[in-house]
Subunit: 451 residues, 2 copies
Amino acid sequence: MITKPATLKGTRDFLPHQIAKRSYLFDTIRTVFQSYGFAPIETPAMEKSETLLGKYGEEGDKLLFRILNNGDFMEGVDTGASSASIASQISKRALRYDLTVPFARFVSQHRNELQFPFKRYQIQPVWRADRPQKGRYQEFFQCDADVVGSESLWHEVDFIQIFDEVLTRLGLKVFTIKMNNRKILAGLAEVAGHSDRLKDIAISLDKLDKVGKEQVILEWQSRGIDQEAIEKLSAIFAMKEKKSTEGLRALLAHSEIGLMGMDELDQVMAHAKALGLQSAKLEFDITLARGLDYYTGAIFEVVSDEVAIGSICGGGRYDDLTGIFGMPDMPGVGISFGADRIYDVLDQLQRWPADMMTVPDIIFMNFGEKEAFRCMQVMKEMRKMGYAAELYPSPVKMKKQLKYADDRGIRYVGLIGGEELSSGKITLKDMQEGSQESLELDGFKERMKRG
Amino acid sequence: MITKPATLKGTRDFLPHQIAKRSYLFDTIRTVFQSYGFAPIETPAMEKSETLLGKYGEEGDKLLFRILNNGDFMEGVDTGASSASIASQISKRALRYDLTVPFARFVSQHRNELQFPFKRYQIQPVWRADRPQKGRYQEFFQCDADVVGSESLWHEVDFIQIFDEVLTRLGLKVFTIKMNNRKILAGLAEVAGHSDRLKDIAISLDKLDKVGKEQVILEWQSRGIDQEAIEKLSAIFAMKEKKSTEGLRALLAHSEIGLMGMDELDQVMAHAKALGLQSAKLEFDITLARGLDYYTGAIFEVVSDEVAIGSICGGGRYDDLTGIFGMPDMPGVGISFGADRIYDVLDQLQRWPADMMTVPDIIFMNFGEKEAFRCMQVMKEMRKMGYAAELYPSPVKMKKQLKYADDRGIRYVGLIGGEELSSGKITLKDMQEGSQESLELDGFKERMKRG
């Protein structure tokens, strides 16, 4: 029976030229992470269901890919129950949904093998049962760096520099690192007399860019925020406009947590600016809220100002990531690069470097067994010099062999026929320049350096 | 509620020092694959169930990890059916079991975007619901290279060179590439008068090393191979002993396919030996059978002669890998490196290189805000020079900071206190040599080069 060859919706194959681009992206991120002292870890794709369930809210639970138990999994299952209840009976494994929860599990599990503060980075795929659509996949990579076991704000400064360094290296010229502090938002809720309604206030505020001021106020009203509070909160709109903290200290004067957030923000901003940034604009954005679930201090978001595609990086500080795994009081801060979006940005702006190798440096034409064997000997030496070389596998017509070299975009073609066999030379065709020359193997390296 | 932090049985976390080793392994394999003209591809972890089911035999089907459909997956399901039948109703996705079937699916799906012969390599994890035990995991990496669309035996020669090059680079000193040809086995079955019983003959023969000659004969008998055939086949035992093809041509004189296999074997062996191998012994092994399911020509297996751990690499030629996906007559040949086993071999032999970086080159001690800021400036310059540097995040007692540097095995410690702030110098402590010196930032690079 013939199976139709097709990937699942929401998943992708990567062809060589795509892998080349992605490797360049990952390598750049990896190199910068390492230069700041971060070390790589990896965790399994499959985690125990109990490790992941309940960590991403009710919606998140629904988006987990769960793995069927093997063997006679239906034995003893109450088939009258709901799908959700049956799922927990027939599935004890699930696929990683992000890198944060597995990292918290990792730190808790290996606490005695690690030195704290522990700085790790992790570049691995994650899986989400989101409805597939343009730019949204069910399998995609995350690139995270976190420090746990430290409250020092120098890490925030490091992360701002890392955003700047990675994106500059990747050739982004105009981008903005937006920054806020969760304690400032908590302070705003406090001075508005709604300490318990931080989430409601922030969720609506986060939409300001999209829906406008009037809509935010309407939403606050419908969420039960009273008029007096709304009047106090309205000072925010002017701050948003000015991208400035002017007046914020006065507004937060009676909120201890709010002022603490201001101090943190000012300190990080001042240090980052004094150290200097290459391409990034660093801006305060009072409406920035992000997923408020575990962030407790600084929050970050990076947007490209050249391509409208939403945030390309994010991150923030948390007080207690590992408490759920029985390891309390482990503060930390981390960031994430959205590899797929950055890939799309570089594609749109055509900012990929020119020299990303996906094909060998040279391919030899095949004129028969004796000639081919000589090519094999020559290629062996070329590989020792660091070049990638291959032989067209069979002695078919030259035209077909040359077309293959051309179709693959291989620049140099090596020819060893009867004449070269006796002279010991190689004829080298430069497909790009359309030139041809005869040289000794010793001269090959020089020729390649000349380009 | 607190969740106990634990990985699933059969899966592993990788700590930084393990990632460093594994990256070195993968990078070596990748570099050699590329030098022979292979290009990287990746396929999704999740494939349609129909792509994988039935491709690995009945046992394989049971070892697939299948993914539960999302939403109300039980709706309309006949709950009275067997677990196997229910599985196919509630799961339309499964995790990749190897890299070969997804590759066949990839080639068939993208045939119009590829140039043939197509040479790809792929280094990705696979998942199998095997019972976990020492050295056997449910999630592990495979490192494959294949050429499809070519019958040329030069590829076999390339692959022998690749085995030799990769394992030599990794520091293996004594290992054997065993080689056989499926056509020779078919020829033996033919001359024994049991062309249809190739599988029975080969499966028993494959156990010769483990169980001995007498047991193999007993097994043949129990599989219904008659006495006359067994007498003919017994010539094999002497050949196995001598590791030689002597007498094989005579034995196969009346089998066309057998003689073809001999020709292929001789040609590949002769070319590989004439080109020369660095560390590998290349041996004919008439008992080598491997999974006979799709191999049709050369078969390979590599064993370490220093560590008894079974085969560390394998591979072979096939006539028709993509036929199941509606793309017939696509011959090819491929190999696979068993990364986990090679990792274990290198661990046992302690052949890892000494300089695998998992920690930064230098860590700066933290004496307070002003000093730390100067460290941040200095580190920025050091990173531009290509060094990895970090700051101890908070100004705690020196002893604690130094212990942290020591525990992590960071060789150089940078000190910028009040004195250095005014002199503009850095005090550099070499934790390995126990020495200390004062230098300018400009002198740092020179000092690091000296080591």
